[in-house]
């Protein structure tokens, strides 16, 4: 009985812990890179910006795009916000475009206040219900908020970070992707 019991004690999910009553599911901080021949294009990632303008990932065809999923309510997103802004400014010289996907904010106002507070220079799609995230199925899915996905200049998903990141990690990852290394 004891043997069976201990064998079974390992029966919890390795990828996702059970969430308790925090009100959201936390990811576990994973960086994944894909070799060039493993990459594929996501589905349509499009919508309206927080200001109401239409926008799409396809608008940036030909450039490396860093897609960051965030919410104004999300503590790790706030902690990494300054790093993301700095990374976006540093990588802008290399033609890298940052695109945010704002998810699970119940109204644009809080998200816009976030953008004001952290001086975010790049646009974000307002996607309360997370529809654009479904487009990443089959590639590297952004399974937590925050997550960052790097799309190479041929429109294919090349790398992802699930969880909070830092400027140096992100810049290093994007530069690897741009250099054609996996």
């Amino acid at each position: 009985m004891l043997l069976a019991g201990t064998a079974l004690a390992a029966c919890s999910n390795d990828e996702v812990g059970s969430s308790g009553d925090a009100g959201f599911v936390a990811g576990k901080g994973i960086i994944t890179r894909l070799a060039v021949d493993e990459r594929s294009r996501p589905g349509e990632v499009a919508g309206e910006t927080l200001e109401g303008e239409p926008i799409s990932l396809a608008d940036y065809e030909g450039r490396t795009v860093v897609v960051n999923v965030w919410g104004s309510w999300c503590a790790p997103c706030r902690a990494e916000a300054a790093d993301l802004v700095e990374a976006s400014e540093e990588l802008a010289d290399d033609g890298v475009q940052f695109l945010g996907i704002n998810s699970r904010d119940l109204d644009r106002a809080a998200a816009q206040a976030f953008q004001r507070r952290f001086d975010v220079p790049y646009p974000s799609i307002y996607d309360q219900k997370g529809q654009t995230l479904l487009a990443f199925q089959g590639t590297l899915t952004p399974n937590a908020i925050p997550s960052t996905v790097v799309v190479d200049d041929e429109g294919r998903v090349a790398a992802s970070i699930i969880g909070e990141t830092t400027k140096s990690t992100l810049v290093g990852l994007v530069e690897d992707v741009m250099a054609g290394e996996d």
């Binding site: 064998a7 969430s19 925090a22 119940l106 809080a110 976030f114 309360q128 219900k129 199925q137 399974n143």
Partner: protein, 528 residues
């Protein structure tokens, strides 16, 4: 013999018989295996499984309603450490429950597989030969007929065959048996139990259950980050989520207005527009408490509802720092709801509001403010505002329903009293010191949905149905044996007929009477 008795008193008492030799490890293993796979052990384990499910039903479970667990823990602080140690808040994941389940499976498999061969052979066995003296069987008859033995025997064989017996002809006699399906029923029952266990195991390993609160007008896409809470099976992966999405277009709830049960909800339903894959034609569904939306990738159940007041918060600089619904959680059946509005991007200082939402405001000196009716007839919020540091910027995840007050201060009146504000729909209250203002714009409702996918549930259902059929078969099919012996005596044919019931009950006498009647006079009749 006598000499033995004489000497018995004088000689020392006989040595006790030698103890049986200790079991070798292999023999010990065999003994343990036999014990484990015995039916008694299986029944004990089944009973334990049922008993183990009792705490799972009575004590709030972490994976089903973690808010209920937190509330229970708060109200029972002495019992909580004990319950946590025993794993009573997640009974179905606990080590001891899994151990019972696994042992039961091993016991069943270890018992059923060898028995399968036995049942199979029993099903195909030929009826045994007639005992020598048929007269000693419980129901025996003797007939004397005029026809020749061969004719009589032939007629007897046809009669028995028509009545469903398997007949084995012998030398001047017949052996017959019916009711082989009882063995088949037994076999089906035991095998189906295995199927049920496998079905449940599949569901709990590869399935998941998740919950989400959605405000009316908003929606959900089936991606891991969109869930509020999730209890995954051990072998489940977020890539297994099917890409459906839906919007809650409308939600209706009715409360009884009068009578004894005033305040009871009588009906909830939600209108949902959904797509199973991105790009599909949207379809609609009316979601009611017992009418889930069944999609390929999961089932969506309506399990609760509550209020989300709509507020606008302006910060010290006059910008709108928060606007929209804030989900408040109901505390009891009056739907007085508790919640928090966090405004982390208010400038110059972060703001927060914590307090009660009362759908139908009432006040007495004894109880203070309370809600007199669960419908939103006269909504009022009673809030305490805070300024300072919400603790969100450090990156440590917080519950969206509670404030971390370590670095927050209550906003106070100039005279030092707490600035509690009571605000009704349409009103705006300014915070002292120019910290900002809050406007109560209106009230929206939210629904709580449970989304789950349990592969193998149809397998489990099929298994239960088959097990029932098998059990009915093994209970109600009566195996029976019959023998007929004929011989020639004095120019006439003497027929001995006997029957034997292999299980209790049933009226053997009737059956043998029928057989006798038919053997005497059987002529092919039309079926009426």
């Amino acid at each position: 013999m006598s000499s033995h008795l004489d000497t018995a008193a004088a000689s020392p008492p006989p040595a006790p018989p030698p103890a049986p030799p200790a079991l070798s490890p292999r023999e010990l293993g065999r003994w343990a295996w036999r014990q484990l796979t015995s039916m008694r052990t299986a029944l004990v384990l089944l009973l334990l499984l049922a008993l183990a499910a009792v705490p799972g039903s009575v004590i709030p479970q972490q994976d089903v309603d973690s808010f209920a667990v937190s509330r229970w823990k708060e109200s029972h602080p002495e019992l909580t450490p004990l319950y946590e140690k025993l794993g009573l808040f997640s009974v179905y994941e606990s080590v001891w429950f899994s151990a019972i389940y696994i042992l039961l499976m091993i016991s069943l498999v270890g018992c059923i597989l060898p028995r399968t061969k036995v049942y199979w052979n029993a099903m195909r066995a030929r009826p045994p030969r007639a005992p020598r003296n048929l007269g000693r069987l419980p129901e025996a008859r003797e007939l004397v007929l005029d026809e020749s033995p061969e004719v009589v025997l032939d007629r007897a064989r046809q009669v028995l065959r028509r009545r469903g017996y398997r007949v084995e002809p012998g030398n001047g006699e017949l052996a017959a048996e019916r009711g082989y399906l009882r063995e088949a029923g037994n076999l089906l029952f035991h095998a189906s139990l295995l199927v049920v266990l496998v079905g449940f195991a599949l569901g709990s390993l590869f399935g998941y259950t998740g919950g989400v609160i959605i405000v009316k007008g908003q929606g959900f896409s089936n991606s891991l980050s969109q869930y509020d809470d999730l209890a995954p099976g051990a072998l489940w992966s977020p890539d297994d989520l099917d890409p459906f999405s839906f919007t809650i277009d409308d939600f209706r709830v009715e409360f009884l207005r009068s009578g004894e049960q005033a305040g009871m909800p009588t009906d909830f339903s939600a209108d949902v527009t959904y797509t199973e894959q991105p790009g599909d034609e949207p379809r609609t569904h009316e979601l009611e408490v017992n009418h889930p939306l069944q999609l390929g990738g999961g089932s969506i159940f309506l399990v609760g509802h509550g209020y989300a007041p709509l507020v606008t918060v302006r910060d010290g600089e006059g910008n709108v720092a928060y606007k929209g619904p804030a989900v408040f959680l109901p505390q009891d059946s009056s739907f007085a709801s508790f919640g928090v509005v966090k405004v982390p991007d208010a400038v110059p200082e972060q703001l927060a509001f914590e307090g009660l939402f009362l759908p139908t405001y009432a006040f007495t000196m004894e109880t203070g403010p309370f809600s007199r009716f669960p419908d939103a007839l006269d909504p009022v919020m009673s809030l305490l505002p805070y300024t300072g540091d919400l603790g969100l910027d450090s990156g440590d995840p917080q519950s969206v329903y509670s404030l971390d007050k370590d670095d927050l201060e209550v906003v106070k009146h100039p005279d030092g009293r707490d600035f509690r504000l009571d605000i009704a729909v349409g009103q705006t209250k300014e915070l002292p010191g120019g910290a900002g203002s809050i406007t109560f714009d209106g009230v929206e409702r939210w629904v709580k949905l449970q989304i789950s996918d349990k592969p193998g549930k149809r397998l489990a259902l099929g298994g239960v149905v088959l097990a029932l059929i098998g059990m009915l078969g093994s209970l109600f099919i009566r195996p029976r044996r019959a023998w007929v012996r004929v011989r020639r005596e004095d120019g006439r044919t003497l027929v001995e007929l006997a029957g034997l019931d292999r299980s209790a009950g049933g009226d053997l006498a009737d059956e043998v009477d029928q057989l006798e009647e038919l053997i005497r006079h059987d002529t092919p009749k039309e079926k009426l």
